[in-house]
């Protein structure tokens, strides 16, 4: 870790942070790298502000307003009550008032008012309406890339106003006038050209999987397989590509493989669908998100699988659970031939898609899996609810299953578990600070400061309960915490996956 050129926030005594006084402009110096020509072109956007960028921006805004009720209603309904002002981890960590959810919305709302409402057209000073200038556009760029689209604000707003929807619309308009973000857009190119966010080609994937099989066998003496592109397999596992490569992600991949092995399941990975992540979500462009999701449908049809299971990844699970059915017909209840084509193939005894935690918990309940819990005794564990899983999806049949199922799994495979402060978990969970397309080095200051509320609550259980392991179910959370932990004086080996714990304790024969 290089010495940071910014101040690392201090821990506070209580798990829940005090609300800072506003510091105007505290983060205005942060600007994520802008996407270059090749990525923008590939995605069908311009790569610099043209002559008529302003007209184009307003035009696009008008289209978004017609297509998305969320954006229209949210821009109209806010009463500036201030209830959301202290709910965003980026505000708590930076004190920049433009990181308060309502102020972030206001960046767009003032332009919306100016061009689309009566009050703003005729009395702009009265309602806080403003012309769209390059300065405003730059503010959009900065602060729409200091929002991880985590939806914490929407839980606490009396009208459910979800700033993430505004951020997505903002990024869509920015892209449309040639100001895309380098990090997200290059990933969107890689996933479409190569098949995954890391840009890992099929043969390399095959090698990696073979290597893992050898490692597991050397370790356990059991020939656990990680099949790739196996036609006729029952289950297709779609997982974030970080699981193939990065630490600690790969430990969870080993965990899934062991679970499948223990259950005697026929399963496969796919080189075409070697990425569960879908950064299309972050940019708010339906068509891009659909194109990226389509690879899963294509792979499922081609391999003829009956079930689709998704690995540990927060935003991927949001897209899979909430959007796959809409975007690609993976799910049930479609009456059109397009979605029926796939539905006919799927096994209707199971929900589609299914989260790996739902799958594992189901097997645990049926008594199919055996564990030696004491193998996890060196770990004192806490669990971080990932924002997209917590507030934009579900597991199991009951609302809130996304909170109980992962915890149930942890308790089934380990003896020492402590939750963090109740105000910082469940639906009130704090984002890791690196979600929503912010997981890039050029935003390190935002990421470190935005992680403060979570780190502070984590520190509290470290102090009180001696916690030494943060269990996660998200590839972005894993990467973010591994990077950010050292800044706060923790060792990155304290970060891991829920299926890593499963992997440690599971008994194979």
């Amino acid at each position: 870790m290089a010495a940071p050129d910014f101040e690392i926030p201090q821990f506070q005594e209580h798990a829940v942070l005090d609300i800072p006084k506003i510091k105007e402009g505290a983060m205005s110096h942060i600007k994520s790298f802008v996407a270059g020509q090749s990525a923008q072109e590939y995605l069908g956007y311009p790569w610099e502000l043209g002559e008529n960028w302003k007209e184009r921006a307003i035009e696009r805004m008008g289209e978004v307003l017609k297509k998305y009720r969320s954006v229209r209603v949210f821009l109209d309904a806010c009463v500036h009550c201030g209830a959301c002002t202290d709910k965003c981890h980026y505000y708590l960590g930076t004190a920049d008032p433009k990181n308060m959810p309502v102020a972030r919305q206001e960046l767009m709302r003032k332009v919306y008012r100016r061009y689309f409402t009566f009050g703003g057209k005729y009395f702009p000073w009265l309602v806080g309406a403003e012309d769209l200038t390059e300065e405003v556009l730059n503010d959009w760029y900065n602060y729409y890339h200091e929002c991880s689209e985590c939806r914490r604000c929407s839980v606490f707003c009396p009208y459910g106003i979800d700033t993430a929807e505004i951020t997505m619309a903002g990024r869509e308009i920015l892209n449309y006038v040639g100001m895309g973000q380098k990090y997200s857009n290059e990933i969107l190119v890689k996933v479409q050209k190569v098949g995954n966010n890391l840009g890992l080609p099929g043969p390399a994937l095959e090698d990696t999987l073979a290597g893992l099989e050898e490692d597991i066998e050397a370790d356990t003496g059991v020939p656990v397989k990680l099949p790739l592109d196996q036609k006729g397999a029952e289950i297709l596992l779609v997982t974030p590509s970080a699981d193939f490569f990065s630490e600690p992600h790969v430990e969870s991949l080993i965990g899934y493989a062991k679970v499948f092995h223990a259950a005697g399941a026929s399963w496969t990975l796919s080189s075409l669908a070697s990425e569960a992540g879908n950064f299309g979500l972050f940019n708010g462009n339906y068509e891009t998100m659909r194109k990226v999701a389509m690879r899963i449908r294509d792979a499922a049809l081609e391999l003829g699988v009956k079930r689709i299971i998704v690995g540990e990844c927060g935003h991927a699970w949001r897209v899979a659970y909430s959007y796959w059915n809409t975007l690609t017909g993976i799910g049930y209840g479609g009456e059109d031939p397009y979605s029926q084509m796939l539905q006919k193939q799927l096994d209707h005894r199971y929900p589609q898609p299914m989260h790996i935690c739902e799958y594992t918990w189901d097997l645990i309940q049926k008594g199919v899996l055996k564990f030696d819990k004491s193998k996890n005794d060196h770990r004192i564990i806490t669990f971080h609810d990932s924002c997209n899983v917590a507030r934009a999806s579900r597991m199991g049949n009951e609302p809130g299953g996304q909170f109980t199922i992962p915890r149930n799994i942890i308790r089934a495979v380990a003896n020492n578990f402590y939750d963090m402060d109740p105000n910082t978990i469940g639906e009130s969970t704090y984002c890791c600070g690196g979600g929503g397309g912010l997981l890039t080095d050029d935003l390190m200051e935002v990421r470190v400061k935005g992680a403060l509320p979570r780190m502070n609550a984590f520190n509290a259980v470290v102090q009180q309960n001696g916690v030494n392991f943060l269990a996660l179910i998200c590839a972005i959370c894993k990467a973010q915490f591994t990077k950010v932990f050292p800044y706060y004086g923790f060792d990155m080996s304290m970060v891991g996956g829920v299926h890593q714990l499963v992997s440690t304790a599971i008994e194979l024969d």
Binding site: K67, G82, A83, T85, P97, A103, V127, G128, Y321, S322
Partner: protein, 245 residues
């Protein structure tokens, strides 16, 4: 008929038209705009009945606000519940004979005006005292509060201090309703009160008062959490799908 009566008569017809027409247009616009993706803030109900229940808790108890900030909740709820009682009390100006429960509510409605004004003043104080709320407040936020406080206080003046001729007032209101115009008592508090109410009605469809219909259209609150069981697709998205299939 006096000029004053004519002005107020016309004003109220205009205000009513703008209020109803404007609001109807907004609601039409919201209905016409699809929500292409499933975005209920979870955990969310898995049935429509559950959604109705969730919405009812939001509208009646301000559930999310309660989780969020107890001060705003207290003041906001005092104001809205006070306003509701006061409005119900006002039904008596629009009917003859008056429903018994409207009669019954009269004394409560009178004192509810205090709740309303206290709530408003509390919310207003936050706009000065809390730095975060000060930062996001616009002139129109202050004016809106001034308008509502003005309506409340002028009304209370007539209830508790300088009574107006309510028989004549009722004749005026019924006259408006049945196009049989009657003179309006030239009482300063009444004129202020009615003038401000008319302004409120006119700005309603073009202001943040749209939060009232807005909440019912908020996809994060009104959607059922069942995306795996039902295929949810907007017309424009279905068209896109057909085009690319």
């Amino acid at each position: 008929m006096s000029t004053l009566t004519i002005i107020y008569t016309v004003l109220f017809y205009v205000a009513t038209l703008v209020f109803i027409g404007g609001l109807a247009y907004r609601i039409y616009e919201y209905t016409r705009t699809p929500a292409p993706l499933k975005i209920p803030t979870t955990p969310a109900p898995t049935t429509s009945a559950g959604v109705v229940y969730r919405m009812a808790r939001e509208v009646v108890f301000f559930e999310s606000l309660f989780k969020s900030n107890k001060w705003i909740w207290v003041f906001g709820w005092l104001f809205h519940f006070g306003l509701l009682l006061v409005l119900l009390r006002h039904i008596r100006y629009f009917q003859e004979p008056v429903w018994f429960w409207v009669e019954f509510l009269q004394p409560y409605g009178k004192y509810a005006s205090f709740m309303m004004v206290v709530g408003l003043l509390g919310l207003w104080a936050r706009r000065f005292l809390v730095d975060r709320v000060r930062y996001i407040s616009t002139p129109s936020d202050h004016l809106m509060l001034a308008l509502l406080v003005g309506i409340g206080v002028s009304g209370m003046m007539m209830t508790f201090v300088a009574h107006t001729d309510i028989v004549a007032l009722k004749a005026f209101v019924l006259g408006l309703m049945f196009f049989d115009w009657q003179p309006l008592p030239a009482d300063p508090f009444l004129l202020i009160h009615l003038g401000l109410v008319a302004v409120l009605m006119i700005v309603f469809p073009v202001s943040k008062l749209l939060h009232a219909p807005g909440i019912f259209f908020s996809p994060s609150r009104n959607q059922v959490d069942n995306p795996r069981e039902r295929r949810h697709i907007a017309p424009w998205a279905a068209a896109l799908e057909r085009e690319q299939a």
